[in-house]
């Protein structure tokens, strides 16, 4: 459009969009990381850590530590460091997972998802 | 044996022959040229120009085979195993150092187990021999015949031939084998390597690498026993023939067949026969046409209508409970009815058709003898070829057009079929020629060679060819700088450093 004020309005518009994108970027990254964490949980972990009988880790935790410890998603006593250590080293019945299966950044996302599984639900998806 | 024959023995051969006679008995060793010429095939691409082997021996045991290998190593000879109608086909520059090992005396049926539905057989056991033994068994067991009644199931496994029942894949239905390696060790594969095992014919893989396939189409050892699974006779069987009127229907035909094979709605090996193949089963070409040159389309049409067939004829069968067969037949009929003019025949409505009966027999586990076939189309000169194509209409058309074009360019009919197994089709045909004409023979050789090359260039690899073309065929499998045949060669050199086992296959690196 050919308008004397257009360039200024355009600049303002572009600037506003840029700011919006910049603000959305960490949120989008967070959303995408949380999604990635959920995706890994759903394809690697849920077999054993899903809820109920038929999920061996849930079953074991329920028997040994009680039903309130059986569900690891959102369990308040877990920390990212602990989760990552267990995933990489295994723990008793749980096998270890190698970086070629779950990369370090994916492991971060997974650990954060386990601790805060609702994070991905909070963030607006694009 | 006459002194004239003894005089023709080359120096290193004579002491070897003496030792073979000592080991096997004199009557088990043949040096007479007239007798040796029985191992040639006058109808082959080499014909009477073929070289004779140095001698032929008839072992009857594994121990004989081991002794023969030792003699071959000591006297720098090679052994060429032959079973049944196999032929000797070494080039002249090698033949003088090769002894045919005719396994005809290794013809014992070692075990038939009806409960577990298998047989353990020696190489020269024939289909008719086995059929006779199986008759009246409980349960009745069928044979999948990949060749005529005089053929050998063990050899058909080694050659990887296909039959027409649901057990048509002979490699898939083989279980356990015994092979004598060039170093004279006797290997039982799979569970046979466990002493006292009763699972040799029950479980294919054993422990460790699954090696059985390495002894098919190979020169890595001499096979002495093969386990074969047998199909229990089903409650009912319904062989059928679907006639498809026009050559151009091929695309739709194969597209219709494709899902029926992938879902195993038709569980057996389906043969889509060009009418000339069926015609050849009933007589040679001059029964149908007296002219020369490639058969014109009008002649083919006339043959089809005289034989009450389409240009394409689909042979398949259903097996199992009658209710399942009826349901299956409805599906097949509905699918093929979409091809205008398709005809549907079963034993109920196809009478007095010897060709249908022959095909039905093959699909019903009964050995067949046929006086005729594509090999006799032109009086007995024959070169059989098979290439693999995907089971799609487009590939069927492209492969058929290629082989027809090459055949025509060399002046030959090429009676051919599509043999549908699992997910692919074998495009199988015969270059039939007059064996009495040296020119025709030469032309046939050129035709077959051109077919191998053109089909390979079009993406359809040859998996069966006359011995004369073995090197050329192997050379087409040249991907990754000939890596596959380099592996074959390494195995051959390691297994057989002295070259005591000979075959038509080339174990030198393929020509680029």
């Amino acid at each position: 459009m050919i308008d004397g004020r257009a360039p200024a309005r355009m600049t303002a518009l572009i600037l506003a969009m840029a700011l919006a994108v910049a603000a959305a970027a960490p949120a989008a990254r967070a959303a995408s990381a949380a999604n990635r964490g959920r995706q890994i949980f759903d394809t690697r972990c849920v077999f054993c850590h899903g809820t109920g009988l038929g999920h061996p880790a849930w079953q074991m935790l329920a028997l040994k530590r009680g039903k309130d410890k059986a569900e690891i998603l959102g369990r308040p006593d877990l920390t990212p460091a602990y989760i990552k250590h267990v995933v990489r080293n295994g723990l008793i019945e749980m096998p270890p997972f190698r970086p070629s299966e779950i990369s370090d950044s994916e492991l971060d996302a997974l650990a954060n998802y386990v601790i805060n599984p609702n994070a991905s639900a909070d963030t607006k998806r694009p | 044996m006459t002194t004239a024959t003894a005089a023709t023995l080359t120096p290193h051969l004579a002491p070897a022959v003496d030792r073979m006679r000592a080991a096997l008995g004199a009557e088990a060793v043949i040096t007479d040229p007239a007798a040796l010429s029985a191992y040639l095939d006058r109808g082959s691409l080499t014909g009477s120009d073929a070289a004779l082997p140095a001698a032929a021996v008839m072992p009857s045991s594994v121990e004989h085979i081991r002794q023969l290998l030792a003699i071959a190593e000591r006297y720098r000879l090679a052994l060429w195993p032959i079973v049944g109608s196999g032929r000797f086909a070494a080039p002249h520059d090698r033949a003088a150092g090769i002894v045919v090992v005719d396994q005809k005396r290794m013809n014992r049926i070692l075990e038939i187990n009806e409960d577990f539905a298998y047989a353990l057989i020696e190489p020269a056991v024939t289909y008719s021999q086995l059929h006779h033994r199986l008759h009246g068994g409980k349960p009745q067991l069928w044979l999948d015949c990949a060749s005529l009644a005089t053929g050998s199931p063990a050899d058909d496994f080694v050659k990887r031939s296909f039959g027409c029942t649901p057990y048509g894949d002979h490699v898939m239905m083989q279980c356990g084998m015994e092979v004598v390696l060039p170093d004279r060790s006797v290997v039982r594969t799979g569970m046979g390597a466990m002493p006292k095992s009763s699972s040799w014919q029950l479980f294919k893989y054993g422990y460790g690498p699954y090696a059985d396939g390495s002894f098919t189409q190979s020169g890595l050892g001499i096979v002495t026993k093969v386990g074969v699974w047998l199909m229990p006779a089903p409650p009912a069987c319904k062989p059928f023939m679907i006639t498809i009127p026009r050559e151009d229907d091929l695309h739709q035909l194969i597209e219709t067949l494709k899902p029926l094979k992938v879902t195993m709605a038709i569980p057996n090996t389906v043969v889509v026969a060009h009418v000339l193949c069926d015609a050849a089963l009933a007589g040679p070409r001059d029964k149908y046409y007296s002219g020369s040159g490639v058969l014109p389309a009008s002649a083919v049409q006339k043959i089809a209508s005289d034989l009450k067939r389409g240009v394409w004829n689909v042979y398949g069968a259903l097996y199992g409970l009658p209710v399942g067969i009826e349901a299956g037949w409805k599906v097949i009929e509905a699918a093929f009815r979409k091809i205008p003019g398709a005809g549907f025949y079963t034993a109920e409505n196809r009478k007095d058709d010897a060709i249908f009966d022959y095909r039905a027999q093959l699909m019903s586990g009964v050995p067949t003898s046929s006086g005729f076939g594509p090999a006799l189309w032109m009086g007995g000169g024959h070169a059989e070829l098979s290439q693999v194509a995907p089971l799609t209409g487009a590939d069927a058309v492209r492969s058929f057009q290629t082989v027809q074009r090459v055949a025509r360019a060399h002046g030959f009919d090429y009676p051919s079929s599509f043999v549908a197994t699992w997910r692919s089709a074998l495009v199988s045909g015969t270059v039939a020629f007059n064996p009495a004409s040296a020119n025709d023979r030469k032309r046939a050789g050129e035709c077959a060679a051109a077919m191998v090359t053109e089909m390979a260039n079009t993406g359809y690899g040859t998996v069966d060819a006359p011995a004369e073309l073995a090197e050329a065929v192997a050379a087409t499998y040249s991907a990754h700088k000939g890596a596959l045949w380099e592996v074959h060669r390494k195995l051959k050199v390691e297994f057989d450093p002295h070259g005591v086992v000979a075959s038509a296959l080339p174990f030198g690196p393929p020509r680029a």
Partner: protein, 524 residues
Amino acid sequence: MNGKLPRGVSKEKFDAAMHAMRKVVGDQWVILDDNPLIASYMDTYSAAPESSTAASAAVCPASVEEVQQVVIIAHRYRIPIWSISTGKNFAYGGPAPRTAGQVVLDLRRMNRVIKVDTDLGYAVVEPGVAYVDFYNYMKRHKLPYWIDCAANGMGGVMGNTLDHGVGYTAYGDHLLMQCGMEVVMADGSLMRTGMGALPQGSCWPLYKYGYGPYIDGLFTQSNFGVVTKIGLWLMPEPPAFKPFMVQLQNEDDLYQVTELLRPLKINMIIPNAAITVHLLWEASVYTTKHEWQSGPGPLPPRTLRKIADKFNLGMWNFYAALYGPPEVVEANWQIIESTFRSIKGAKIHLEKDRKGDPSFEYRVRLMRGEPNLTEFGLLNWVGGGGHINFSPISPASGADAVKQFHMIRQACEKYGFDYIGEFVIGWREQHHILMLMFNRYDADDSKRAHDCFAQLINDAAGQGYGEYRTNLHFMDQIAQTYNANDGALLGMQRRVKRALDPAGILAPGKNGIWPLGESPETES
């Protein structure tokens, strides 16, 4: 570096090799044993110390070209490399190599489903595709084919096939359904088998045999090459699917069910890999040993009866499924129902009869090709993570099944373990799997498990029974039992090894195949 160097390799050569490999795959994808990440390459389920199979390093290529370059470097420096696909071969060694000091060639990053052709029903996959990924791929693209997965949903489609693994649908014999193979040879050259060696065309995953020797099988349960792609045939979604369970009251019913099953299998009335499962295997989904007995030793028969009653399970539980057009499925069902009704006390259940029953549900999932890990509830039976599978082949005969069952149970009881087993039924044979569960944090428990396994190998061979697959620590002992004709088979395998890997760098000791001049003794 902390642990063992590969045999015969100096520190200088090892370091030079690792340096060269880092240049190929990137620094982060060479994991040395002073990196904590090496812990993820341990066999965390075995009865032997983890250190006995601790890798000196792991290398993770991302492409065939990288594999070739890594193999060439390994060849130059004579580094033994042990390849894994997904590395989830639980009970058989997982991601660990046969001996300490070997370098793991971790192919998990090569995880593409290269192609699924819905026209002709085949797939081509790379080593790192796990069953769960393959399943999700099919679902995501809405493809009308079922996969066949092993009981371990994280297992590798390729790895399982190459180890002669089995699944539970009509396509359960994984090696039978494999068609076409690509292999990196020990000299780094690339080779495709069968029709794959033809430069033009697409018949590679369509026709198995090619021209000349059919050698695909040589690259299974062996160390003659590094497989980088396989083709496999897929089962079209069946029009009807009818899973069922037969709950068998008595232990002795094993004989009858096996005898009745054999003709149903040989005649393909039951087309899938059906399975006869001992009570305790199924019970582990619901309960653990400690809920029934606090002391050591196997559970007595009266306790087994209590468990069976509580969870409504049989002493044996048979599962199978019918696939095909509805009319055929119903007709075959009539035959099956009347067959199993002839077993006294047998109860036949369909899906609707056992809704919400996790043990039936997971069997149904397996028979539908749906990956899961429910079977590993077995790890909770005694806890402590130890499990090793003893896997003899039995003829599909009642007498052999019973004989093997008693033989195995007797050995288990002698060493203080429960018999937890199942028979996976093929056409004419059964894969008899014993899950030997123990606490690997208890040295005594581990030793007893190890000794029990070692005795079982000998007991079985004494009766003419051999195993079809095994754990790292027993590969040699089992290979030695296949010794007919003065070890002719192993002699032949060594010939192949000399032909294809004369330097002996690929997975030394896999299935008892050692390069010339090496043996289990020289490795320790």
